[in-house]
Amino acid sequence: MNWSTTTIAIYGLTALGAVAVYLLLPRAGRSARVAGTLLGLAALAGLVVLSLRSFAIPGSEDFYFYLLAVLALTSAAGVITQRKAVYSALYFVLTVVAVAGLVVLLEAEFLAAALIIIYGGAILVTYLFVIMLAQQEGQPLYDRRVRGGWWACVAGFLLTATVASALSDFLLLAPVVAPPMTVEVANTDRLGLVVMTRYMVVLQAAGILLLLALVGAVAIVRKRYPHLETVERPLPAIGQAGREAAPF
């Protein structure tokens, strides 16, 4: 199989996937979910078959790779096709877990743990929190139908297909095989050394960025208007307020 057939295959399968996603997207009227699912699975299977040719003998790691990759992609599709935002968020958690698994396969355990702790433990919980705060009653209209789905799917397909085919094309010309890892020092230690020496300034900048985001988020959300009922109440004298006995 030479490069041009690979490219064509990638284009074709991506297009198939795009059609599947289009069918799966929520919209008014009857949506062709079953057809979409079948098409999507077909596209995934095609991709698996397409990439299988690069293994001489598939090993157990490859099995895990396919498992996690398929899991990541299906759950990612779930993120964008679910009608309820909560389900989107949960599928996203699944994606994160799958990606963390892929990252473990790539021998970056620390990053995998960080992914789960930060994404799963913090970011997505915050998302859930906001979703719940902001969406009380049923499914609003805007979640039940997408808009411009067709154009978006074409654009996304074009982007994905060009990127994927371009990258894998160049990589196919010179197949890159992973060098054996020299595991004398644990991944965490080495990553720490890199981050703390070579990327010290970036690390500092990242810290400052986080601080800024913290302050910014508080400043954005904080309300500056006093409530009408409480406006009249005089403020307690400094240092006295803690002493007034008002448990409720």
Binding site: R147, W151, A152, V154, A155, L158, L159, A161, T162, A166
Partner: protein, 647 residues
């Protein structure tokens, strides 16, 4: 050596620290106690300056050699070794300046504590004021301590900045804001020349260190450019030290608070020009013509400013013109190869002029901000301390025998009469005028019948004001006698280029007319005569002064209007510049802006067509973006493939 380094760094850092603390903590934390920070800082700097002096004079090596301290490498100028360093040069000249500056500044900061607190202005900037003062002392010390021209320039501009900030201290007063602007702009003219001079020095010598530039090798490297460079540097001195024709900013600078006038515009900053010329003597003496030019500018400015001081009524302005005049004396001294006398005069002048300004400030303080001598009189009884310290300062300024001004002025006059007899005699006349206008002011303010402005509760100032006055009065009275032999001895190294040049003057250029004692007698007589005339005209027979004024006719009007210099400058310089600016502005507005508008019209047209497709929905833009990106990547990919195929 170590202690030299420590003390010199401390001299710089203490005031800076004081300024930063006062500025940062003052408004919130220190408030009314801000002065303590700056007093301690500046006083500490004065102490360090004294210690520096002690250590320097007790060095085991040959005395009075300049000591170079390299603090750190500052700016790499290309090449592995060529660095502009921050280095200090400690030598007698720097020490004299440092001691003078820090000593006077200490007492003025003390004085400012009461003055700024009970001031008639609704005071908002108490902390700001002290922060600026600290910053000024830092800048001035950096100027004096610096061992190269770049540090000199840095300090030079920094003191200019402080001067600007402090003149415009009452920034809500239009006059103050305008005066600050004027000072800054006029100084720019001088500093432009100064900067050019420094650049030329670097071009010619490849170094800015005094050590090299002022050595014989450096002077040789400067070659024929030396006189030109000297003139350019002098240009800066003319601006900073308010000499003809750039003196116009100094009288207006009196809009600032009085302690500022005393410290910056009388005692220290304005003498930076004198310091600079003395420091760069080796460059200036390369040309006799330049020296003559310096002397001429100094002598003429002295006379010119003294005549203007004759007819002023605002005490601070009289003192300002007097300052210009005395600075003229210093430049005269420099121009006639008597640099030690000039520096000596700088020091004594710092004492008595600071004293006079502070005294005027005390009067102003008592009068509720009024400083025009026509509005009050006979204050001798109500303000005794102020009055008598003021009289001591005035006597010193007038050159009354055995007071400090007498000694320094005498040295300058003697040498001037020898080298430039014409300017020398002019200076003698100026000395007489000085005595006259000084006592005119004293008599108008303190003698005669008691007159007070309406509604002012007059009171003598408190100890925070009186003590600095007394200390400075002691200095004004005794410094001349105490130092008149020691200082020239101490400064003998600095004098070497001047002395050498003096020895090599062509025969006949030096006239040996009057001996030292005769000149002393002459100046004493002139001073006493000036005082006597003032006493006659303003105390014993007040109607005489009125008659003088009326009889002098157009001359009086001319002088009273300050020779119309401001107006002439406005006509010759400012108006044409404004016209040119108007033309430029019109070109900018119609021609350039029109072109820009035309250029902009294209996108506007495109935007007019496209704007309807902007629906404000970000995802619509996202679709376009993703599609466009995909097309670009696709094209790049195809292109790369075609290239690969072609190869």
């Amino acid at each position: 050596m170590d202690s030299l380094q420590q003390y010199s760094i401390l001299i710089l850092l203490l005031p800076l620290l004081g300024a930063v603390l006062a500025g940062a903590l003052g408004p919130r934390l220190l408030k009314g106690a801000t002065h303590w920070v700056v007093i301690l800082a500046v006083g500490g700097a004065a102490y360090c300056a004294y210690q520096l002096f002690e250590v320097y004079t007790h060095l085991a090596v040959h005395t009075h050699e300049p000591v170079q301290l390299v603090i750190y490498d500052w700016i790499g100028m290309g090449g592995p070794t060529s660095w502009l360093t921050v280095n200090f040069r400690i030598d007698p000249l720097a020490l004299v300046m440092l001691l003078t500056v820090t000593f006077i500044a200490t007492w003025i900061v003390v004085y400012a504590r009461d003055y700024m607190r009970h001031h008639h202005h609704p005071e908002r900037g108490y902390e700001r004021f002290f922060a600026f003062l600290g910053l000024f002392v830092f800048s001035m010390c950096a100027l004096v301590l610096g061992g190269n021209f770049l540090l000199l320039y840095l300090g030079w501009e920094a003191v200019g900045l402080c001067s600007y900030l402090l003149i415009g201290f009452y920034y809500d007063k239009p006059a103050a804001a305008a005066a600050a602007m004027k000072a800054f702009l006029v100084n720019r003219i001088g500093d432009f020349g100064f900067g050019l001079g420094i650049l030329l020095i670097y071009l010619k010598c490849g170094s800015l260190d005094y050590d090299y530039v002022l050595s014989s090798a450096g002077i040789t490297a400067l070659g024929d450019w030396a006189p030109g460079i000297a003139l350019l540097l002098f240009c800066g001195a003319v601006g900073k030290s308010a000499q003809l024709p750039l003196y116009v900013w100094l009288p207006d600078a009196m809009e600032g608070p009085t302690p500022v006038s005393a410290l910056i515009h009388a005692a220290t900053m304005v003498t930076a020009g004198v310091y600079m010329v003395a420091r760069c003597g080796a460059i200036f003496v390369t040309s006799e013509a330049v020296m003559t030019f310096v002397a001429a500018i100094g002598g003429i400015t002295a006379l010119f400013a003294a005549t203007m001081a004759l007819v002023q009524y605002d005490m601070k302005r009289i003192l300002a013109y007097s300052t210009i005049s005395q600075l003229g004396f210093m430049f005269l001294g420099l121009g006639v190869y008597a640099a030690d006398a000039a520096v000596f005069h700088l020091m004594t002048h710092a004492f008595f002029k600071a004293l006079l300004f502070l005294g005027a400030g005390s009067v102003m303080h008592a009068m509720g901000g009024i400083i025009d001598v026509r509005e009050f009189g006979g204050l001798r009884k109500v303000l005794p301390w102020t009055c008598y310290t003021f009289v001591i300062g005035s006597l010193a300024l007038a050159g009354f025998p055995m007071l400090s001004g007498f000694f320094s002025k005498d040295l300058i006059l003697h040498q001037a009469l020898e080298v430039q007899p014409l300017l020398g005699w002019l200076a003698v006349i100026t000395a007489g005028l000085t005595a006259f206008y000084t006592f005119r002011m004293v008599l108008l303010a303190f003698w005669g019948p008691k007159r007070l402005p309406f509604g002012v509760h007059v009171h003598e100032s408190g100890p925070w004001i009186i003590v600095p006055l007394l200390v400075l009065a002691i200095g004004a009275a005794g410094a001349g006698y105490y130092f008149h032999e020691k200082l020239p001895e101490f400064l003998v190294d600095m004098m070497t280029p001047f002395d050498v040049a003096f020895e090599h003057l062509p025969p006949g250029a030096v006239v040996h007319g009057l001996s030292h004692e005769e000149v002393g007698l002459l100046s004493g007589v002139v001073a006493i005569a000036g005082i006597a005339v003032a006493v006659l005209g303003y105390w014993i027979r007040p109607d005489w002064s009125r008659r003088w004024r009326e009889e002098s006719g157009w001359l009086y009007i001319l002088v009273h209007n300050k020779y119309y210099v401001d107006e002439i400058l406005a006509t010759v310089l400012v108006r044409p510049l404004q016209q040119a600016a108007a033309v430029g502005s019109a070109v900018d507005r119609y021609l350039v802006d029109g072109l820009v508008w035309l250029v902009a019209a294209g996108p506007r047209l495109v935007g007019f067509i496209l704007h309807r497709y902007q629906r404000g929905a970000m995802q619509g833009y996202g679709v376009m973006m993703a599609g466009g990106l995909a097309v670009i990547i696709f094209l790049v990919f195809i292109f790369a493939r075609v290239l690969a195929a072609a190869n």
